[in-house]
Structure formats: structure tokens, C-alpha cells
Symmetry: C2
């Protein structure tokens, strides 16, 4: 994971949504890194579920089950 | 959560990073929704840690501890 795929501006908006008035730039970057890591983890699991079902395309149902598994752990 | 703060294109890139060749539009949207939900949850926790420390600004260390707590559950 070299460059973050998720913009820092989006992370500032997430924090606003969470009720924060102010967020340091480092915090927004850290949140982006974390959220991206979780997203990639879920996507990897989802890909396994897709392949298991004989598909090459990740579908929404793969994301749903992968999310449950990743967040349960 | 009405409109997603995280773009669908970024979610397609995350899935590519995870090794997926193809991702349905609905799956990318679902991943965006999920990732945003987790991000807001972490940001809310981080805000509590900031306030607890007498700050109004979320710092990177607040995100770090909040991530550990959210992902532990």
C-alpha cells in the first residue's frame, strides 16, 4: 500500500459526519490508511467468496458476507 | 447516511488492489457504504478519546486507539 486510494478530503467529511469540529491532517491521513486497509481486507475476502461461487466478478453479496466475517473477528 | 462520501471509483481501485479482475457496480457501492460506516464509527470513537483528553481536535493517536477498539469488537 504505497499511495492511498481514498482522498484525505473524504476523511475530513467522515469526521464531520461523526460530529468532529476539527481534525488534524495527520489524523485524516491515518483514518484514510486504516479505512483503506479494512476495505482491501474485505475485498480480498469477497474475491474468495466470488471465486468459490465460480465467478470472476465480485458482487454485492460477496461484499456483504465478507464484511460480516471481517467485522466479526 | 444519505450520500456516500467515498467515491465508487476509489472502491474499484481497492478491489483491484485486492486482486479482483472485475467488480460489479453494486459491489463497489456496497463496499463504499461499508467502509464509510466503519470510518464514521472509528471517527466517533476517536472524537470521544480526543474530548476525553480535553481536546476538540481529533489527532492521529485518537484514530489509532479508536481503530484498535472498533476492530477488536
Amino acid at each position: 500500500m504505497t499511495e492511498s486510494e481514498i482522498g484525505v478530503a473524504a476523511m475530513h467529511r467522515l469526521c464531520k459526519k461523526a460530529g468532529a469540529e476539527r481534525v488534524s491532517e495527520a489524523a485524516a491521513k491515518e483514518l484514510g490508511k486504516v479505512v483503506e486497509g479494512i476495505g482491501v481486507k474485505i475485498a480480498k475476502d469477497a474475491l474468495e467468496y466470488a471465486v468459490h461461487s465460480g465467478r470472476k466478478t465480485i458482487k454485492a453479496k460477496d461484499i456483504e458476507i465478507a464484511t460480516r466475517k471481517v467485522m466479526e473477528k
